[in-house]
Amino acid sequence: MIAETALPKAQKYDDNLLRNLGLVGVLVILVIIGIVTRPELYSDPAWVRNNVLIILQQASGIGVVTVGMTFVIIGGGIDLSVGAIIALAGVWATTLATQSYGAAGMIFTALVVGVAVGLVNGVLIAYGKLVPFIATLAMLVSARGLAAQISGKQTQVSANETINSIATTKLLGIPLLVWILALVVAAGWVLLNRTTFGRRTVAVGGNPEAARLAGINVKRHSLLLYVLSGLCCGIGAIMLTSQATSAQAAMANLYELDAIAAAIIGGTLLSGGRGTIIGALFGVLVFSTITNLFAINNLATEVQNMVKGGIIVAAVLLQQFRYRSLTNLLRRRNVSDKP
């Protein structure tokens, strides 16, 4: 027998945990930079508490979308249409006709639009055999066009107080939007890690042929993943509409890039088969915290952008570094001597 004595310890920890630890480290560093640069703000506990809530709240919409995106990517796909779905769902939910049905009607509309667009994506990809990149890019273009058509390129104001109050309501001192994010993340985590749906997602993304030969209906599952992403976008559309008390065809611009970036920074493999919901959440929080840091330091846009790229690179390098060195510590040697 191979020297199995060396085994147990090395196998007890979780790679993903380390990766997430790395992201927590990045967050801590960002906060420290904030404290150092604006000590007067950070000396006020009420401000700090509020700031944390604001960071979370601003992360809530994109966070929900990122959960759906993470599923799609783990399942071996990609969804470039998330921002467009939000716009379409948001605009559709705020037409005068829809608004006449009240808050429930608006929420229902947004969710149905999200699911329906996801379904179209899924059918095109799973059954039409289109490359996900192309199918969802086409959907991006079309859905934004349709949203512009429906809205007459106007910003549609939500006159519904219930919808608008979603963004202002707090529960136990925590904004409702943050609760929604927490709920979606928790549901996403359970779905990925504790259900057969999650297991299929990993299998379908990791090795579709193996999944198929194990009796998994790969096509149907892929389709469901895009529907799930569409559903998350529908939820996100409500959240964003409530925050902006309005919707328009250009809303949620480039959310697709943000969501994909957050998922990948959180440790999801762009080629599929591996990823974590918690990591994706941390990815979103890193971006949200960077934005917050820039705001409290009043950085000019161009400087902000230059720095942001650098921070992303540094964060990933740091995370990799932490990941590697911790791994080494635990394993007492280098994981990978391959290039």
Binding site: Q58, R144, G152, Q154, T155, S246, A250, A295, T301
Partner: protein, 321 residues
């Protein structure tokens, strides 16, 4: 910026005594404006169409300008090939479409530039533009006066511009800074949005968090202002007053009602598109403006940016878009 679109465009239906109102020689006007999903741009196109419809002797040929300057160049080259009498265009970027302006003028088609100036004077026959610098100046002036009147010593002033890489944004900011400087004030924090309500909400939320106390805020654009106002409400803040930009109907309504922090807005009216069509018609027919002595339409017209407050809001209600 309203859910009811269309029938509320800003048109001039000339009085019976106006000689220029009478139908004349037929004029085909080519028209091109960018397709940004934004209330102001939408109003530009609506106004142009509505104004053209007023004249029985005008045929408007709108061409879509696509997503960027390159697309607009391509669209305009097909338009030039169709030889309209006059071209009215709102370029994505005046500098990037300068060459196209020259090309049209060379082909004998007078060009009316709307809003975004061409660098070379040979590239246009008429230029009508809003005054971006003046807009910032007006906003700064209003804020400065209000704060002075309140006796605030060193006020904390916030600014939420639109897309920051646009030159028009830079001009507005410059005017704003110059006006404030005259009062010895300066901007404490500046968070750009993207002319959309959701980006306005995000920018405003960040700004409010960075400035726990604020005295005044200028938001460049009333469309994104919907989101800015939402963010202010969500943050439960009211210790400051806010000035808007452009002059949307919603903003004018809010100023009239006086139930939000929005106390004024500085205009940048899309009515310039209506004027552009009227003047393009005159250029096409070789007529001048009836109130001017000159026989031809002048080469440059810059609209003044006006400040709408509660006091004069009723006067502007019609011009809101």
């Amino acid at each position: 910026t309203s859910n009811d679109t269309g029938n509320d465009a800003q048109v001039k239906t000339g009085g019976s005594g106006d000689a220029n109102a009478a139908a004349g020689q037929k004029v085909i006007i080519g028209f091109s404006a960018p397709a940004a999903d934004h209330g102001w741009i939408a109003a530009i196109t609506n106004n142009a169409k509505a104004q053209a419809a007023v004249y029985s002797d005008v045929e408007l040929r709108p061409v879509e300008a696509g997503a960027d300057a390159a697309a607009q160049r391509a669209a305009l080259s097909t338009l030039i090939a169709q030889k309209p009498q006059v071209i009215v265009m709102l370029p994505h970027d005046g500098k990037e479409l300068n060459a196209t302006g020259l090309e049209a003028m060379k082909a004998g088609i007078p060009v009316v530039n709307l809003d975004r100036a061409f660098p070379s004077a040979a590239a246009y026959r008429l230029q009508i533009k809003g005054d971006n610098y003046g807009m910032g100046l007006a906003a700064g002036q209003y804020i400065g006066e209000q704060l002075k009147a309140k006796g605030v010593g060193s006020p904390i002033i916030g600014e939420i511009p639109g897309i920051d890489s646009l030159e028009l944004t830079q001009e507005r900011t410059k005017g704003f800074n110059d006006a404030l400087a005259a009062f010895g004030f300066k901007v404490a924090n500046r968070r750009p949005a993207e002319f959309t309500a959701d980006s306005g909400q995000a920018a405003a939320t960040a700004l409010l968090q960075a400035l726990p106390k604020m005295d005044a805020l200028w938001n460049h654009d009333d469309d994104q202002g919907i989101g800015v106002l939402a963010a202010i409400k969500q943050a439960n803040r009211s210790e400051f007053f806010m000035v808007g930009g452009a002059g949307s109907k919603a903003a004018i309504d809010a100023i009239t009602k006086d139930d939000t922090v929005l106390k004024a807005t500085v205009t940048y009216s899309p009515s310039m598109a209506s004027s552009a069509i009227s003047l393009a018609r005159l250029i096409g027919q070789g007529k001048g403006m009836s109130d001017l002595v000159e026989l031809q339409v002048p080469k440059e017209i810059t609209l003044a940016s006006e400040t709408i407050t509660k006091d004069n809001a009723s006067k502007y209600a019609k011009l809101g878009f």
